[in-house]
Symmetry: C2
Subunit: 421 residues, 2 copies
């Protein structure tokens, strides 16, 4: 017998027919004698509908009231799933965030989970009481100070599931989604991409932060911190597949086979825009004059390149910001032109960040060099570079995205061996 | 300064544009220095959508989970209205049923309100704290035993509003709806129907129970018990109309002008069906044999007529049941045929109950006689009769409905005097 958290996303909960399928999956786990808690998202599209209502009501909406409105989507699917489970003979009940409670920080609309009370929950899930109930918990929500409803920010249901698993000391947190696991790269670009059976938390963090959409970054960080075994798998797979072989397990480094590939995956991210300021004075404090006002405006700067100073004593500074923040960033920098002191501000949205990720990089030199050579050989120009301990990212022209991902996937030996080209 | 509860129904809350209009009406009351609590329904159609989800998930849904699902509609409109109020400079916050809390009985899906805690609410609405907040409360919901969400049954938001007004000792409970008050009869049938400026609780109860759709019967009963001054008015009227002259006030008998019309209104109800059992033995216990099994099956019998026994020692018994229960009633009576002992069972759904209502009836004999004569003169055949202290109802053939309502409206002097025929 194991204690399991199962999480189902909006696509899996979109309509009663799919909710019934989800109920069957849960029955399968519960029927094996497991204690099961389920975390659900709202029906696909519902949260957008509710967010739009709030925006329409006022562009400056009160985040506490926004939370009341948008948390209703998960409330609905929780109740419906409990009903669907009961209908197939599985005892079940819903637990709202305020009922457990799931206590959060006061940061409405993007709250952090601080504490989860699991006493009553575990009792209802165990052999005592009315007998082994499945607990259905709306994702994305909790209760902040003053007993106000709080939500965790978009995609927060993954985080809810991992936090529940940590609080319940669950043996596993299964995240059901519309893909069947984590791949070496986007299979739509590289048909020979391979599903990974295991990745480490850190690799998953890097992959998630550079565009692999499988899991929300925050949830991976939390899983790493709390050492929760997370499995990503598809809610559309055949339910009878042998359980052990499905999906991708996200675990600590000690569980991953050290003999495997140097590089785990190639990710790409088209959500960044590039800004270049020319002829910035090469004096102390000049760079701070650029980035402090951006930080004050809550704009996240990612890649930064500062060229060697020209003979004139001035330099060009290039960096990236999220595309959604570009207009605000340009505005901030325009206003700061005198304080910073630059000649021209140039921006470009037709760029992609391509990253290679892998814990194997720690013990192997030359990964970055191989990446630059591979891209250079195919005529792909690199506009900016950032590295971390287990990741190298380059910024390239958007039109070269697929080419770059494909040649890197091949170069690092990630192509599936048994498929025909 | 007054303390006011304002209640807005689903039509008034259908979409952000209408919610904004509602916010303006609230600002108008609040701006005059009043303490304002608002009770809202879900957007028109939303509760039906949610109820259908539950039915689709399982015909035997758990009412506790049903309540979790359907209560979300009012949660959404509460949050949105608070946002819309803030956007026009009116401090506001939503209070869910569990936050106040509004404590209810354990009868999920049709719970009764037992107790409302108003301490924090009144503080937020008063001069203390952050200053005179408008409280927005989702109608139709509360919290039952074990901190489970409970709903009050369809149309329960009127009851929520009256219960809030009673708990807060409000000066007035204004129910905004899509009609501008209570009329002497349905204006679609009698264009010369007049809006009543005042009706008594008892009259409103009788009118509501015989087909006037303005207010939910339960809410009127509660208003009478708690002596809450209720006003029914339209949320589509011009907001600048002089407040005192709008809508219909529902109050105690002592406030109503005793010199007014004998009869307050004429109502009709097409939701009943007639059943006749022929040749029932005229012995003690025969009638009980008919009505006990119907009561056991929770079928509400309204009008009952038992004819004088034939010379054979048998009698015909006629009664009405709600059309929605007809099939079940026929089934119960078919099964009980031997126990009851009747020859034939005949039913008819093409009937209407027409009622005249008025507290003036108490001190005036002859109201019923005048009714029967008026109908008889026009050739309307009466199939059954029931009376209460302030109401006379007759069952007639459905095709005569409009004729009967019109001639009675004229006969009791209710036609507006200033309109041309």
């Amino acid at each position: 017998m194991a204690r399991i958290v199962m999480k189902f996303g909006g696509t899996s909960m979109a309509g009663i027919e799919r909710i019934r399928n989800v109920a069957q999956r849960i029955k399968h786990e519960w029927g094996q004698g497991n204690e099961v808690a389920v975390v659900v998202s709202a029906m696909a599209g519902e949260t957008d509908r509710l967010v739009n209502f709030c925006r329409e009501a006022s562009s400056l909406y009160d985040p506490r009231e926004y939370d009341v409105v948008v948390s209703s989507g998960e409330q609905v699917t929780s109740g419906l799933l409990a009903i669907a489970l009961q209908a197939i003979g599985v005892p079940a009940r819903s637990w709202m965030g305020w009922q457990l409670p799931i206590r959060t920080s006061d940061g409405h609309a993007s709250a952090r989970i601080e504490d989860i009370e699991t006493g009553a929950l575990l009792e209802s899930m165990g052999e005592g009481g009315d007998g082994r109930e499945v607990a259905v918990i709306p994702g994305f929500q909790g209760m902040a100070l003053g007993e106000r409803v709080a939500t965790l920010g978009r995609g927060g249901s993954d985080t809810s599931a991992v936090a529940m698993a940590a609080a319940m000391k669950a043996d596993r947190c299964d995240i059901y989604t519309d893909v069947d696991g984590v791949y070496t790269t986007d299979p739509r670009i590289v048909p020979r991409a391979q599903k990974l059976s295991k990745v480490t938390y850190e690799e998953m963090l890097e992959l998630a932060s550079v565009g692999a959409k499988v899991l929300q970054t925050r949830s991976v960080g939390l899983a790493m911190k709390e050492n929760v075994r997370v499995r990503v798998l598809s809610s559309f797979d055949d339910i009878r597949d042998e359980d052990g072989h499905r999906g991708t397990l996200i675990v600590g480094e000690e569980e991953v086979d050290m003999e495997r590939q140097l590089i785990t995956g190639i990710a790409h991210d088209k959500n960044e825009a590039k800004i270049t300021l020319t002829d910035v004075s090469d004096r102390p404090g000049a760079v701070a004059a650029i980035f402090s006002p951006l930080a004050d405006a809550n704009i996240n700067v990612d890649m930064i390149v500062q060229n060697v100073a020209h003979s004139t004593g001035a330099t060009d500074v290039t960096f990236t910001v999220p595309k959604a923040e570009l207009a605000r960033a340009l505005d901030v920098l325009e206003k700061g032109k005198d304080a910073i002191g630059y000649s021209q501000m140039i921006h470009d949205t037709k760029v992609t960040k391509v990253s290679v990720v892998g814990v194997g990089m720690r013990s192997h030199a030359g990964v970055a060099a191989a990446m630059f050579k591979t891209l250079g050989d195919r005529g792909v120009n690199i506009q900016a570079i950032t590295t971390s301990e287990i990741k190298v990212s380059v910024l390239i022209e958007e039109d070269y995205t697929e080419l770059a991902v494909r040649v890197l996937h091949t170069a690092y030996g990630l192509d599936a061996p048994d498929a025909a080209e």
